[in-house]
């Protein structure tokens, strides 16, 4: 993974060689043993317990420089930032973390620091355009906003007239504003086929799981600040949730234990006290084996279980057979390590589980999420300092999700037409925070016209051609669409297929009200317009405008500011006043359940879930074999001997974003595939070689990155690249998670071979 040997003659060493050699030697690698001093009594050299927290002053503005306080939207962390503007030119000089933020204390990740490029990148879309030639050929004509909106409204109304509102798909991606206004537009329009690449694959399984188990509205908080032990499950916060990474580091230095579950030696796993390396897709089995040990050894919290849960006896009986030896057989994590991790987690005092998208992307997503969070429930780590705190409020500006998205605006007779609702009620029906279509089912409908035609798509902030699984099939479906309108920042492969493209504003160019329940459910902050691109507009403004053109003005606000005023009503502030204040911060409330109970049918934590039972799903987490397993499909195992997982997310990128940014691209220039050196050697693959990953669904080409930190039968790909490098080309639609329809993306059988010239270049630059 890193550079290996370094020579010894400085005469021939480049600066980079010298740099690498320095780093290696500093940690005693390739150093003459005579130089390697063994310290007597290593224990005495333990690090001091005081955290080394630097005190940061706030940079002051120079004459001619204006500082705008805002919040980064490079991801959903919403870190508070300072944007430095040159007053003469209006150009952004730099984007920095805000040392006064109580959440970040001034940190900011690579993506946020490099985000001025969003405004200055020559590839930014700067005005509305309409297709002026054959689809996908790149011939465009500039049009006015008014013209663009009229044309889109006219087309959407035409297709609704011809085929019914179900014939128009409303697709969205990581819009990251008050993106729920887009759902409101879909519902007001009557579009049952509304959804996103992410929802069934990201967050929705955890949200639904929180709802059925704890009666909570949002995802749980891991209270790192007060914890004695952290169980980080399949996530790598330094890449994806920087605030959590800093909190984990502080807790660790305080002496809190760190247990990490990851199929690779991620940056987080590298810091762990206990690293559990399961076979991808076996998370449920690992969690059940941990539960077995906790119950068998009486490590659970008897008081909490007795007073605040239902179904413990059934759970106890259920996990009786899931011993650590059984766990080892399924997950290949050594039984002794499972026992050790269970004792450490359950015996540490308050312990916090931190999980993220990986559990949403296994073949049994909802069951995996439940199996993990029940560990917190039986150990009494719910709602207590240092544990997991369930959350149902979003700072000061809580909205009922179904009310806000106007779910009742949807005609009742249309709802059964939503694609996927018969099989995946937890995604498509009332239990879902935003009821959505099951996207693979919808794409098949678009491709085949069955059971009814879907002819038009409005796509906001989603690079659909890249971000959906089974990308080749999605492309076939998109080719069938008669009308496509796309709103985005850049000319993505998806935008290239459109008939009309709208330029969205980036976060640096718009006002916004933020309450990110994922990072800090108790803070509400203002994002402030720092610069202006004359024709780029915020998604909220575009949605409000389009609603007027569609005759739906009654259900919408005049513009984004009117929406923010409405959302802020409970605080008694207008958005303008709030911008001055910048943030509202409410402390986390512990043990709320002692007052209100849990908002489940039983009023308690449902270890045995009555809501799942009612919806035809297993009420206790059951381990089911993935189709893509040797036992589940022996022929598959024979033809496709390796296991693919797609969770390698470098800190420079988020999903399909940021590849246009030269500074971030320099850090991570090529689509990488982690592969064990023994496997690489068997296949004749060297570091940096192109590797073709093949499944029945298709193939993708990425570049080999050799590492000891992965099992020899497993490879891990970076998702989100374009062209042949798009790993979504190999993800099949052969199995969906029970009740919620997630597509398994972690643990797919594949074949590997060294790529040759005949395969062509991965072509990640443009072509889809």
């Amino acid at each position: 993974m890193s550079m290996s040997g370094a020579g010894h003659s400085d005469q021939v060493l480049t600066p980079e060689d010298r740099r690498n050699r320095f780093a290696l030697r500093l940690l005693g690698e390739q150093v003459d043993p005579a130089y390697r001093r063994r310290l007597p009594g290593g224990e005495r050299n333990r690090a001091p317990v005081t955290p080394a927290a630097p005190k940061a002053g706030r940079p002051s503005a120079k004459p001619g420089v204006k500082i705008v306080r805002s919040a980064c939207y490079s991801c959903n962390s919403c870190c508070e930032v300072l944007v430095f503007i040159d007053e003469a030119s209006g150009a952004i000089l730099k984007v920095e973390g805000d040392p006064e933020s109580p959440v970040t204390r001034g940190i900011l990740c690579a993506k946020g620091l490099a985000s001025r490029d969003l405004v200055h990148n020559p590839g930014r879309l700067r005005h509305p355009i309409v297709r002026a030639g054959e689809r996908g050929k790149g011939a465009w004509q500039r049009i006015s906003w008014d013209d663009a909106m009229n044309r889109i409204a006219e087309k959407l109304l035409f297709y609704r007239e011809q085929y019914g509102a179900e014939g128009v798909a409303f697709l969205q991606g990581t819009i990251r504003g008050w993106s729920r206004v887009y759902s409101r537009l879909a519902n007001a329009f009557g579009a049952v086929n509304h959804g996103a690449a992410g929802w069934g694959q990201c967050l929705w399984p955890r949200l639904v799981e929180n709802a059925v188990t704890f009666g909570a509205t949002y995802t749980e908080v891991a209270d790192f600040e007060n914890t004695h032990c952290m169980l980080v499950w399949g996530t790598n916060p330094p890449s994806t949730w920087p605030c959590f990474a800093s909190q984990i580091m502080d807790a660790r230095e305080r002496g809190a234990g760190l247990i990490v579950v990851d199929p690779t030696l991620s940056e987080t796993a590298a810091k762990a006290d206990i690293w559990l390396q399961p076979r991808p897709g076996t998370d449920t089995a690992l969690a059940l084996a941990l539960m077995h040990v906790i119950i068998r050894d009486g490590l659970y919290d008897r008081g909490f279980v007795e007073n605040w849960t239902v179904g413990f006896d059934r759970l106890k009986e259920h996990v009786g057979g899931y011993s650590s030896e059984w766990g080892e057989k399924i997950t290949r994590v050594p039984a002794a390590l499972i026992e050790k991790a269970a004792r450490r987690y359950a015996g540490a005092g308050p312990a916090a589980i931190y999980r993220c998208v990986s559990l949403d992307q296994v073949h049994d997503s909802l069951q995996a999420c439940r199996a993990v969070s029940l560990l917190a429930a039986v150990t009494g780590n719910i709602g207590v300092p240092g544990g997991n705190v369930t959350v149902s409020r979003r700072g000061e500006i809580t909205q009922n999700s179904h009310t806000f998205i106007g779910y009742d605006l949807l005609p009742g007779d249309k709802i059964p037409l939503r694609r996927g609702i018969d099989r995946f009620p937890l995604l498509c029906d009332r239990l879902s925070p935003v009821p959505t279509a099951h996207m693979p089912t919808l794409w098949e409908t678009i491709a085949t016209g069955k059971p009814y035609p879907v002819k038009a798509a409005l796509i906001f902030g989603s690079n659909a051609l890249i971000s959906y699984s089974n990308a080749n099939r999605v492309k076939e479906a998109m080719d069938k669409l008669e009308f496509i309108a796309v709103c985005d920042l850049f000319m993505t492969p998806t935008a290239r297929m459109a008939d009309i493209v709208l330029p969205a504003s980036s976060w640096l160019e718009r006002d916004n009200l933020i309450s990110s329940f994922q990072v800090c459910p108790t803070t509400t902050i203002a994002q402030q317009k720092a610069v202006e691109l004359p024709e780029a507009r915020s998604d909220v403004d575009i949605v409000c405008d389009l609603a007027r053109k569609l005759g739906l003005a009654d259900h919408f606000w005049n513009d984004s500011e009117a929406l923010y005023d409405f959302l802020l009503e409970p605080t008694g502030l207008t958005f303008r006043e709030f911008k001055e204040k910048k943030r509202l911060f409410a402390p986390l409330v512990y043990r709320q359940f002692e007052k209100n109970g849990f908002n489940t049918p039983s009023g308690k934590v449902e270890l045995y879930s009555s809501l799942l039972e009612k919806n035809g799903c297993a009420p206790l987490p059951v381990y089911t074999m993935p189709v893509e397993s040797a036992a589940g499909a022996p022929e598959g195992a024979a033809g496709y001997p390796y296991i693919l997982t797609t969770g390698w997310r470098p800190p420079a990128y988020r999903h399909t974003e940021n590849r246009e940014n030269p500074i971030l691209r320099e850090q991570f220039p090529r689509p990488g595939l982690l592969i064990h050196p023994d496997t690489a050697s068997t296949l004749g693959i060297s570091e940096g070689d192109p590797v073709v990953v093949e499944t029945a669904a298709g193939n993708a080409t990425l570049y080999a990155v050799l590492t000891l930190g992965i099992h020899p039968d497993t490879v891990q790909a970076t998702p989100g690249w374009r062209g042949r490098a798009n790993i979504n080309r190999v993800i099949p639609w052969t199995q969906f998670a029970e009740g919620i329809g997630s597509v398994p993306m972690r643990g797919i059988f594949c074949r590997l071979r060294r790529g040759s010239a005949a395969d062509g270049a991965p072509g990640d630059e443009g072509e889809s």
Binding site: M1, L24, L27, R38, L39, N45, A52, P54, P238, M249
Partner: protein, 192 residues
């Protein structure tokens, strides 16, 4: 800024996320190319039956005996009162001798015909009362700015290595009995 300062880098707290690299480039106004701060990954490697993966932020060490300063033909490289090594842009002729001389490989030319760039320890930011940009933004909060008077205290019971103003510290490697070291720690011993 009369006191001499040190940047203490806690290797146990470095996540390898490279935020510091971007922070540094932004502060120095650099585009694609030179990286005055670069995080080098060591591993994964197997030691005593366990896999280790470590990250070393590499940057100008502001050496006590600075090879770059010694070789500069026009004496453009000088030491500030705070102990940091700086380049005087006005007199630098861009010959690149310093880049060749640096034993740590942390000086680079900024483009063809450009001038050498390296860490300034954010001299200007510190004058303004802010931390060096890498230290402020570090997601592991691995970097601390320490005045000379406080250095001994912040290194107490830790394992450390330095050759100038940058101090690498670790508890993990001390526990594992591996000493932080650089075999040719004295930069003068490295041929230019």
């Amino acid at each position: 800024m009369s006191s001499r300062i040190f940047l203490v880098i806690d290797l146990d707290r470095c996540w390898g996320c490279k935020a510091c690299e971007v922070a540094c480039k932004q502060e120095l106004g650099l585009g694609v190319g030179p990286r005055p701060m670069k995080v080098v990954e060591v591993g994964p490697r197997s030691l005593d039956g366990a896999l280790h993966r470590d990250f070393i932020p590499t940057l100008c060490q502001h050496c006590d005996q600075a090879a770059c300063q010694a070789v500069c033909p026009v004496e453009s490289i000088y030491r500030e009162a705070d102990g940091s090594i700086q380049i005087d842009r006005n007199s630098c002729i861009g010959c690149g001798a310093c880049v060749t001389a640096c034993p740590f490989g942390v000086m680079e030319m900024d483009g063809e015909g450009g001038s050498p760039v390296k860490c300034t320890l954010c001299h200007q930011r510190r004058e303004d009362g802010a931390l060096p940009s890498c230290a402020q933004h570090c997601i592991g909060r691995a970097m601390t700015l320490v005045a000379e008077e406080g250095l001994a205290e912040s290194l107490r019971d830790r394992h450390s290595w330095k050759t100038g103003r940058i101090v690498y510290v670790t508890g993990k490697w001390a526990r594992l009995g591996v000493a932080l070291q650089e075999t040719e720690a004295d930069p003068r011993s490295v041929p230019a």
